[in-house]
Structures are given as structure tokens and as C-alpha cells.
């Protein structure tokens, strides 16, 4: 989610002028939105009231023939509703009223006697985009910073000022579904092609062009024409009840399948669009206001907004402890050792964000695969910053080395020794291991204080998290440097302390282990996976094991078991999987069948039960999903609390961010710590105790949980 999309900005209570107007000699009034309290304009009650008053005054002013609305901020238009304000709304009715009120004002703008032209430069998101849609016309700059979109869905919300309906009106239902349900940003050219803006011009003349268009519309105002494609779609869907019902049934089924009902905003937006298609704008606006009210006070929106605040806070976090002060070294050049999925992904994220990368692997074929991987992700200009080799040449001036070779301590040691002969003493050396303690890797280093862990997640260019691992002796400057690089790569960075599995891998281990126990007891593979996907994980634990590699997981399991003992011990039967050469998807042998069935259709490999020596229970459908969910989720959550207790984590906030963005903990649940807060530590403790009784000491509650329950505390204030 872009920092700009919705800016949490504390608003002071003092009344402030956020709108100013100026009437030009040619009769075009320029209305400038400029909230002096914030870096970006956001939609606040003040802005709403003052905008309405200013428009009223201009409408009444006989010298004014047309109006242009622009932003007084340098490179942004209006980035959406003020989230602090939205988060503070306590009653659905209040939100509903706000939506209805804004909707009315925007409708008046759209239908007013004098043309209003939006002059859009920089992001116009959420309410900002809705504002421009409510104008008679919009002129956008073709600057790279200019994007338009309705990202509300990412916060569990929906557009509240009829913007979604206006998109449907102009660009059709399909476009509205796409824009609303994905929350994606549109480039100005795309918005122009869709009819969502009317002109795209160079940034330097965007105001002039908006003024000229406003003056022209004042003389000759014609209704906007719909494109033939949109008219055709309207004919098929809006005017045809049968087609419409079929279409929305399919859309709904698809949305339900993807969200499993956990993200109601998606379905509520579909409601609005169906109401629009069936009964028109006014009815849709009514539905929108009601649904918006419900969403604003929903648990889902609250969890997603809290996560958004946490991410925003992390963007300003140096990753250092309060007692530490260190400036990051400048990083321009990065050496990436290993051109596999991780190495190439790290290289791609780096060159995409302006860093120069030299990537090494052992032979041409491996280097070639890495180059291909990067090439498919980045554009020409970014690719120009990447070079590759099979030796350590071209790395002398590297400011940061990220080692992403095979997870083998000896190999990592030899790689470290080699690269340290080449690079300068202040070069930060990072290992992208997912499990080997960094202190062990740093043991081979001639400068162990410059060594740290940068644990990326696959696929690197898509996964938003970077787990940065510091040892007892890591130089704060090295940490600050790596944090800065991670942020530059567009990652949300959490800094954790060294230890087996760090944080994310460590909490994943008992979770996957519990799935293994369930399977070993005879729970069918699909029942386990289905239950956890239903709970909100993107993929089930056994499917994930296939993806990660059963051999890799076993290797990591060995590391965590050695460090944490019995609770990480896999069921005895699992050794049989390795003996059966089941490595997961990479060798086509795992819990599922690969390459034989139809695409997108996952079928369990039934022979796995025989290998494990179990008979799957017949009553698959009736097997209690709740039991599976409770066991797997609590295994993970309990371990997360141990990490907090042992100060692996700096804060519950980092723990929630790490679990959600690193390993797919359901975002609408807010993360393990937020989950405990919501359920209540005492209740979570009760459930843990009951599991402990039934299943043994691997469910022994974390001391921190016991403590929190005893003292009636919460992780978040």
C-alpha cells in the first residue's frame, strides 16, 4: 500500500483555512485545496465544509463562469480520507451520515450550473479521485507521480462518495469492479483511455489546460459521451436482467472464493454496483452509504487500519534501539551472491529502486536463469543497472553484500571469506538465510560486527516484508544501513534479534509441525489445508510445505528442534516422507499431485497416507475444521509470544507485521498479538491449557501469555 494512499495525520482541533479561491480576469475561478496541517491533502470535515462553502460562493458570484479545483501541495492532489478521522468513528450511523452528506455535495457539483474542472497532479486517491470524478471534467498531468485509484478496499473500506458508481457510469461495470476490488492505481493515460479523466498534459501546463477546458465548457457544455464498448456492456448487463444476474452471480462467487467471507468490503462493493446496474445511481448511492457505515465500524476495517498504521510507523523507524544512534552508510552498489529465486528476487527489488547490482552464481546457466528472472520483472532502465558474473569481479566498490546461496553453513562460510577479500571494510554483509543463526554465519567473518541477516520472502519482488536480524555484536551502523536499503527496496522492515529461525521461521515451525501431527493422526490433507485457508491463510500448511520443499522444511525443523527441543519435534512418521524422496513441488512429489491433473486443480496424492502409515478418516467433510484451526493457529501464536518474551521481537507491532506480511497470517485478524488482544489473553490461555492437557507439553502456554492473563493486560493500549 502506498504511503500516499491514505495518510494518517493527526488533525488539531483548531479551525484552519484549507481552501482558498482566486478569480481570474477571464472569469475562471481557481479553488486551491491546501491543508496547512499536513504534508498531503486529506478529506476531513473541515475540507468538506470549506469546499462546499467556497463552491456556493463561487456559484453565486456572477463574475465567475467556471471553476477549477487544484491542490496547493507540490506533487499530490488529494490522497483520500483522513484515516485518523475514519478510525475514530464509533457508530455506523455516523459514517453513513457522512457518506450521504458528501454524496449529496458531490452530486451538486456534478450537476451544478457552472462547470468545475479538476486539475490533477500527483496522486488522486480514494476521496481525492472521487472528487475529481464528481467534477464536470478532469485534466491530469502525465507525471510519474500522478496516479488515480480507489484503494479503500485495502483498509477493509469502500469508496463513500459515489466514486465507484461514477467509474461504473463512465467506464462500465467491469472496470469499476476491477478498480474497486483490487484498489489498484491507474496511470493517467489508462484513466484517459477509460474515460475517467478528460485530458492528460505535461505537468507544467496542467493548470493552464484545466483553466482553458473550464472556460470552454462554460461556453459550450456538452454531456460526456460513453464509449461504444461501455454502451455495449450497459446493453448486455444493465438493460438485461438475466445477463445482469448471471454476471453478478459469477462475480460474487469468485469474490467469495477469494475472500472466504473475511473481507466484506469486496462483497459490499459488488452490492453497490449491482444496485447501480439494476436500479440506477440514486439507489446505488443509498446502498453505498448504508454499507459504508457498516464497514467503517467493522472489525476487519479496524484490523486493517491498525496494520496500516503499524506499517506507517515502521517507515519512520530506524530499527535501532532507543539507546543507539547511528547513521546509515550510503548504499549505491549491492553485490548479490547467488542468482536463484531469492538472489534474483533481491537483485530485482534493488535495481527497480535505483541500486546498482552485481549478481554472482557459480556457472553461466545459473546466472542466465537469474538474469531471466529479473528481466521478466523489471523494465529496461532498471535492468541496465544489473550485471552478472561467475566470479567476484565488479564487487570491489559494493556497499552491501547480500548472500543468498544454498542453506549450508560451510558454503556460507567460504562465500563470506571470499567476498571479504574483495570488498571494503565498511561494506555491510548480509545473509539471506531463513534459519541459520547469524552468529554462526558471522563466525567465519573477519568483521563479524558488519554481518547481519536480511531475510526476504519469496517471491521477493511481491512480498512486502524484510526481516532484519541483528546479532549481539552487529554494528548499529550496519543495521541502519540495511534498514535503509530495505525501505528503499519498498519493504516493510522489522528488526529482530538473532536466534534459531529468528521470528518468522520460528513461529512457522510449530504451525507446520501441528499440521503434520494432524496428518499423522489421520486427518486428510485437504481437510487441514482447507481449514487453514478458511481461517484466512493464503495457502494451507501442507500446500505450503510442498511449495517450500519438504526437505528444506525438515532441515529448518532440525535447526529449530535443536534449539527449542520437544515442542518442535515432528511426528515420527514424517521421516518416511524423506525416505520416499518427497521434496514437494520441486520434484513433483509431495502431498499433492503435480503436472498430471488439469491446471489450477489441486489433487491430493493419496499414496502419501500409505507412506506415513495412516488411514485417512473417511468423513472428510465432517472433520472439525475448528479443531484444526485452533491447534495450528495457537501453536504459531504461542510461539510468537515466546519470541516477544525472549526479546527476539522489539514489539508486538513488529510481531504482527512480520506474521501478516511475511508468512500470511490473516490480515483481518491483525496478527498474533492483536488476535490475543481481541480474544483476550485469559481465553487464549484457557484454550492453550486444554490443548496442553489433551496433546501434551508442546502446547505449554508461553510464560508471557500466562503473565498477561494473570494481570489482565493487553499487548496494545
Amino acid at each position: 500500500m502506498s504511503a500516499l494512499s491514505m495518510q494518517p495525520t493527526p488533525i488539531s482541533a483548531r479551525p484552519t483555512g484549507v481552501v482558498r479561491t482566486e478569480t481570474r480576469p477571464d472569469g475562471v475561478a481557481v479553488l486551491t485545496l491546501d491543508d496547512p496541517r499536513t504534508v498531503f491533502n486529506t478529506i476531513t470535515p473541515e475540507l468538506g465544509t470549506q469546499l462546499a462553502a467556497a463552491l456556493d460562493a463561487l456559484e453565486a458570484d456572477s463574475k465567475v463562469s467556471a471553476i477549477v479545483i487544484r491542490s496547493g501541495k507540490k506533487d499530490s492532489f488529494v490522497v483520500g480520507a483522513n484515516i485518523d478521522y475514519v478510525r475514530a468513528i464509533r457508530f455506523a450511523k455516523d459514517a453513513e451520515d457522512v457518506s450521504r452528506e458528501v454524496g449529496k455535495r458531490f452530486a451538486r457539483m456534478a450537476n451544478g450550473p457552472k462547470p468545475i474542472v479538476a486539475c490533477v497532479h500527483g496522486p488522486a486517491l480514494g476521496g481525492g479521485f472521487e472528487l475529481s470524478l464528481a467534477c464536470t471534467a478532469a485534466v491530469a498531468s502525465d507525471d510519474p507521480k500522478t496516479v488515480l485509484g480507489l484503494p479503500e478496499v485495502k483498509l477493509g473500506l469502500m469508496p463513500a462518495a459515489n466514486g465507484l458508481i461514477r467509474v461504473a457510469e463512465r467506464a462500465g461495470l467491469r472496470t469499476a469492479l476491477d478498480v474497486g476490488l483490487t484498489g489498484k492505481h491507474l496511470r493517467p493515460k489508462k484513466a484517459l483511455a477509460l474515460g475517467l479523466v478528460d485530458e492528460v498534459v505535461a505537468p507544467s501546463i496542467v493548470l493552464d489546460a484545466a483553466v482553458a477546458l473550464a472556460a470552454k465548457l462554460a461556453k459550450d457544455r456538452r454531456p460526456r459521451k460513453r464509449s461504444p464498448a461501455v454502451m455495449l456492456e450497459a446493453l448486455v448487463l444493465e438493460k438485461n436482467p438475466v445477463g445482469r444476474r448471471l454476471f453478478f452471480r459469477r462475480v460474487r462467487a469468485e469474490a467469495q472464493g477469494k475472500t472466504r467471507g473475511h473481507y466484506p468490503a469486496v462483497l459490499r462493493m459488488i452490492d453497490v454496483l449491482e444496485a447501480y446496474a439494476a436500479s440506477g445511481f440514486a439507489r446505488a448511492a443509498e446502498v453505498e452509504a448504508t454499507q459504508f457505515g457498516q464497514l467503517v465500524v467493522s472489525e476487519t476495517a479496524h484490523r486493517l487500519i491498525d496494520l496500516f498504521f503499524a506499517q506507517t510507523a515502521l517507515k519512520k523507524d530506524t530499527g535501532l534501539d532507543a539507546s543507539e544512534k547511528a547513521q546509515p552508510f550510503t548504499v549505491e552498489r549491492v553485490a548479490v551472491l547467488g542468482a536463484g529465486l531469492m538472489g534474483a528476487g533481491i537483485a530485482a527489488s534493488s535495481v527497480k529502486n535505483g541500486l546498482v547490482v552485481r549478481m554472482k552464481d557459480r556457472d553461466d546457466a545459473s546466472v542466465g536463469r537469474g538474469l531471466k528472472y529479473v528481466r521478466d520483472i523489471v523494465d529496461d532502465r532498471a535492468f541496465a543497472r544489473l550485471s552478472a558474473s561467475t566470479d567476484y569481479s565488479g564487487m570491489r566498490h559494493a556497499d552491501l553484500v547480500v548472500e543468498a546461496v544454498f542453506e549450508d553453513l560451510d558454503l556460507k562460510h567460504s562465500v563470506l571469506r571470499e567476498i571479504e577479500k574483495v570488498v571494503k571494510p565498511t561494506c555491510v554483509i548480509a545473509s539471506n538465510t531463513s534459519s541459520i543463526p547469524i552468529a554462526q554465519i558471522a563466525a567465519a567473518s573477519s568483521r563479524p560486527d558488519m554481518v547481519l541477516g536480511m531475510h526476504y520472502f519469496s517471491p521477493v519482488h511481491r512480498m512486502p516484508l524484510l526481516e532484519l536480524v541483528r546479532t549481539k555484536i552487529t554494528d548499529p551502523r550496519a543495521i541502519a544501513t540495511a534498514v535503509a536499503v530495505g525501505m528503499r527496496q519498498g519493504k516493510t522492515v522489522i528488526v529482530v534479534r538473532d536466534g534459531a529461525g529468528f521470528y518468522t521461521t520460528r513461529i512457522l515451525a510449530p504451525y507446520l509441525n501441528e499440521a503434520a501431527h494432524l496428518l499423522a493422526e489421520g486427518t486428510p490433507v485437504e481437510a487441514i489445508d482447507e481449514a487453514m485457508v478458511d481461517w484466512g491463510f493464503p495457502v494451507g500448511p501442507l500446500h505450503l510445505l510442498d511449495e517450500v520443499g519438504i526437505d528444506v522444511a525438515a532441515h529448518v525443523g532440525g535447526v529449530t528442534q535443536a534449539a527449542f527441543g520437544e515442542r518442535m519435534r515432528p511426528p515420527a512418521a514424517f521421516v518416511a516422507l524423506e525416505n520416499d524422496h518427497r521434496k514437494g513441488r520441486k520434484n513433483g512429489r509431495g502431498f499433492y499431485l503435480y503436472g498430471r491433473g488439469k491446471k489450477n486443480e489441486k489433487r491430493v496424492d493419496d499414496t502419501v497416507y500409505r507412506v506415513l502409515g495412516v488411514t485417512p478418516r473417511a468423513e472428510r467433510k465432517t472433520y472439525a475444521a475448528e479443531e484444526i484451526q485452533l491447534r495450528c493457529a495457537l501453536a504459531m501464536i504461542n510461539e510468537a509470544m515466546r519470541c516477544q518474551d525472549e526479546q527476539i521481537l522489539r514489539s508486538p507491532r513488529d510481531g504482527d507485521i512480520g506474521a501478516v506480511f511475511g508468512i500470511g497470517f490473516p490480515a483481518f485478524r491483525g496478527g498474533p498479538f492483536r488476535y490475543v488482544d481481541v480474544i483476550g489473553p485469559a481465553e487464549v490461555l484457557r484454550r492453550m491449557r486444554s490443548l496442553e492437557q489433551r496433546l501434551g507439553p508442546r502446547f505449554e502456554p508461553a510464560p508471557l501469555l500466562v503473565e498477561m492473563a494473570r494481570r489482565g493486560r493487553r499487548f496494545y493500549a
Partner: protein, 430 residues
């Protein structure tokens, strides 16, 4: 005051590949970017040190007329690096090298990247003159009818695309036909030519086997699939047998000719680059130069009178400017466009009559070039000849070979279309 010398700090080339093979999806610009980016990485140069890029293609591509500037913009160099492109046919990267050197000696720059690239796989195919003028007319026309009218005079034949002419505009003959004529005029036998070709392949193959080119040639993983790495020139015959050359039929004169595909250089794709610095700058940045440019010369002759004799004309001038004799050269590398051209040029250099009649020199022949110092690791016939890339390849190879032998001087010389010749004398660091 000790005058500044221009140092060659590093060099690199791609493997050279036959037209339509490893690089069939790449343009000359792609190849140029690949080699320059890798040269910068290997030399550990901070790109901010670079002031100038001079680069060239013998067959310029209309999509990137100033290839040098596109290389700057596509290799992560600062955008403030200025760049221009040069064309001197097969001597293009000689020209790139000496143009940059001249700017450096004039005190305008102290670090420059030079070189050249050509792709015989990506030649600019143009349209006929009639179609071209119709297209221009149509572009200016306002109405659809006018636009259509512009094409009304065209016949189907005018729609056939036109490949670039490899014919000499002044003589109307192709290069091969010129080589054929030289061979006949000088009485060069088919066997002599085939021996030169066989020798070129044998030496190139040996050089590859001995790892001579390891530091001169990079590996390329050609996009878009990146899965067919090319590590060596694919023109070189590793099992060259003299007899096999005799089996080929003449390519340009079926009845009486002796120039064949086997004793000519092939159409090739590839790129090369050199990193140049002023001696003082190299020292300041801590580089040990491979060597220095000692002198250079270009010469021109009547295309009708031995079009490819450029080396015999330019070499004596370069040697004079260096204050050296041909016998001082530890290694001589002469571009092998055709075996016949190599033989004719060598003969001319050792001929008193040529010196007197063509060069107006009364001091006797320029000199003999013994086999053991001539095209030591093969030449363009075996290695391939991506026109603009050849010069920088030769300069780099000569310099390293002089050094390897513990020698002092080397000569690289080439003929170029239009009756031009180029020669560069290099010296190793001392």
C-alpha cells in the same frame, strides 16, 4: 614537460557469433551495452569517472543513430557522460579509439570508453526509393483520398524490402569481388589463400584451447531467454584441415575465382570495448595500464586500385609517427577481411617497388613480417568479423600478446571500405 600518454586500462569483447546464431535476437546496441557494462564492472571503475564514450557501428541502425549515447543511457553510467558515434567501416573502433585519444591528448577528457558493435542479424532493411517517397507524401497528405493517391504509382516490385548494400558505391563491386580482383591482379593462388585461412583457424583454435582469450572475452547469456550461454567465438573451426578448404567453390566468380567462403571473413555479430585513461589519471585511480597508444595513422587510396590495400598504406605512416620500424614490432595483427587481401598487403609491405611507386619512399621496403609474430592468435577469418567490433579486439589482443612475450611494441592494422586503411602502434607499460 613530459607529455601525457593515452593508456589502455582494460578491454573486453563478447564472443563473436555467426550471423543468425547466438545473438539472433540482439541488436548491435544490445551487444554494445552488454560488453560495456561488463567492462565497467570488471575494471571496478566508478562510472562517475567516465567523461566520454565514443562508439560505433559500421552499419548504423536507424533506431539508435547515436549508439554511443544509447550505451551511456543503458549501462548505468551517469547521464552527464557525453557521447558520440563514429563510422569508419571495418576500422570503426580504430576510429573510436583514436578520436577519444585525441580528445584526451587535447586535455578535454581523462577517462573514455570506446569500441564498436555490429549485428549482421539485425541489419536495417529499408524500403524502395519509390515506396519511401510515397510514404513521405502520404504523411503530409491531409485527406484519406490524398493519402491513398500517394501510393497509386507504386508497382508490386516497389514493395520489396531492400537489404543494406555491401557494394562499394564508387566501384559498384562487392567487397568479395574486389578481393577476387586483387587476387587475380597479384597472382595469389587459391592454395595460398586457403593456407592463410587454415592457419587463422588453427591458431585461433589453439588460442582458445590455451585460454589466451580468457581475460579478453566475456561470457554472454543472450536475452530474451538467457538460457544459451555463449562463451567462445562460434566461427572458429577446432578441427581445421587444409584439404577441406579446397572443396569449397568460389563465392564471387564461379568460373575463374579463388575467393571462397572459407578464405573470407564471415558475417558476424559481436561487440568490443576498451577503457582508455590518460596516464596520469590511471595512476591517480590506481590502475596499472595494459599499455599505451604510441601512434596511429589513417590512409586512403584509389578504390579502383586495390581497394583493400589500406594496411600497406597506413602502416608506414603510423610507424614513422612512432619513430619505429616494422621490425621493431613484437606482434603484428592485420585484419583478415579476405585471405587474398592479407597476402597482398604483406607482399606490398615487403616490396621495394610498392614502397617506391605507391608510397613515394626511397628508403626501401617497409619490411617483412615473420609468421611467428603475425596474427599470432588467428584473425578475422577464424574469429569472425562484426565490423565495428574488430578494431578494439585487435588492439586488445596485440597489447596482451606483446606483454605476454615480454616485448615492447605491437601493430594493429586494418583495411576499410572505400579504400581506407588504419594502423595503430601500441607499447606496453614501462
Amino acid at each position: 614537460m613530459k607529455s601525457e600518454r593515452v593508456a589502455i586500462v582494460g578491454g573486453l569483447r563478447t564472443p563473436f557469433a555467426k550471423q543468425g546464431t547466438a545473438y539472433k535476437h540482439l541488436s548491435a546496441l544490445d551487444l554494445g551495452r552488454i560488453v560495456v557494462k561488463e567492462l565497467l564492472a570488471r575494471t571496478e571503475l566508478d562510472p562517475r569517472e567516465i567523461g566520454l564514450v565514443v562508439y560505433g557501428q559500421a552499419v548504423p541502425n536507424p533506431t539508435a543513430p547515436n549508439i554511443a549515447r544509447e550505451i551511456v543511457l543503458g549501462t548505468g553510467m551517469p547521464k552527464s557522460v557525453e557521447a558520440y558515434s563514429v563510422v569508419r567501416a571495418c576500422a570503426t573502433s580504430f576510429q573510436a579509439t583514436t578520436s577519444a585519444a585525441e580528445a584526451m591528448l587535447a586535455g578535454q577528457h581523462d577517462v573514455a570508453v570506446v569500441g564498436g558493435a555490429d549485428s549482421a542479424s539485425d541489419v536495417p532493411i529499408t524500403v524502395s526509393k519509390k515506396l519511401a517517397s510515397a510514404l513521405v507524401e502520404a504523411q503530409k497528405a491531409r485527406s484519406l483520398a490524398d493519402k491513398l493517391r500517394a501510393f497509386s504509382h507504386l508497382s508490386p516490385r516497389d514493395l520489396v524490402p531492400v537489404p543494406p548494400a555491401l557494394r562499394e558505391p564508387s566501384t559498384g563491386l562487392t567487397m568479395g569481388e574486389h578481393a577476387e580482383r586483387m587476387a587475380k591482379d597479384a597472382g595469389v593462388s587459391r592454395e595460398e589463400q586457403d593456407r592463410v585461412a587454415h592457419r587463422s583457424h588453427t591458431r585461433a583454435a589453439a588460442a582458445w584451447q590455451r585460454g589466451i582469450f580468457a581475460d579478453e572475452v566475456m561470457h554472454v547469456m543472450p536475452p530474451p531467454s538467457f538460457d544459451r550461454p555463449i562463451a567462445e567465438d562460434n566461427v572458429v573451426r577446432h578441427d581445421s584441415k587444409l584439404d577441406s578448404y579446397a572443396k569449397l567453390s568460389p563465392a564471387f566468380d564461379r568460373a575463374h575465382g579463388s575467393v571462397t567462403a572459407g578464405n573470407s571473413s564471415a558475417l558476424t555479430d559481436g561487440a568490443s570495448a576498451l577503457l582508455l585513461m590518460t596516464e596520469s589519471k590511471a595512476k591517480a585511480l590506481g590502475y596499472t595500464p595494459l599499455g599505451f597508444l604510441r601512434s596511429w595513422a589513417y590512409a586512403a587510396l584509389d578504390p579502383d586500385d586495390g581497394l583493400l590495400m589500406g594496411p600497406a598504406y597506413s602502416t608506414p605512416i603510423a610507424l614513422d609517427r612512432a619513430g619505429l620500424r616494422l621490425s621493431d614490432m613484437d606482434v603484428v595483427d592485420m585484419h583478415e577481411a579476405f585471405a587474398a587481401q592479407v597476402i597482398c598487403n604483406k607482399k606490398a609491405l615487403s616490396s621495394r617497388r610498392f614502397a617506391e611507386e605507391k608510397l613515394n619512399r626511397t628508403t626501401g621496403p617497409i619490411g617483412e613480417i615473420e609468421d611467428e609474430r603475425f596474427n599470432v592468435h588467428g584473425g578475422s577469418i577464424a574469429l569472425g568479423h562484426p565490423f565495428a567490433a574488430t578494431g578494439a579486439r585487435m588492439i586488445h589482443t596485440v597489447l596482451r600478446e606483446v606483454k605476454r612475450r615480454g616485448g615492447k611494441y605491437g601493430l594493429a592494422t586494418a583495411c576499410a571500405a572505400g579504400g581506407l586503411g588504419a594502423a595503430i602502434v601500441v607499447e606496453v607499460a614501462s
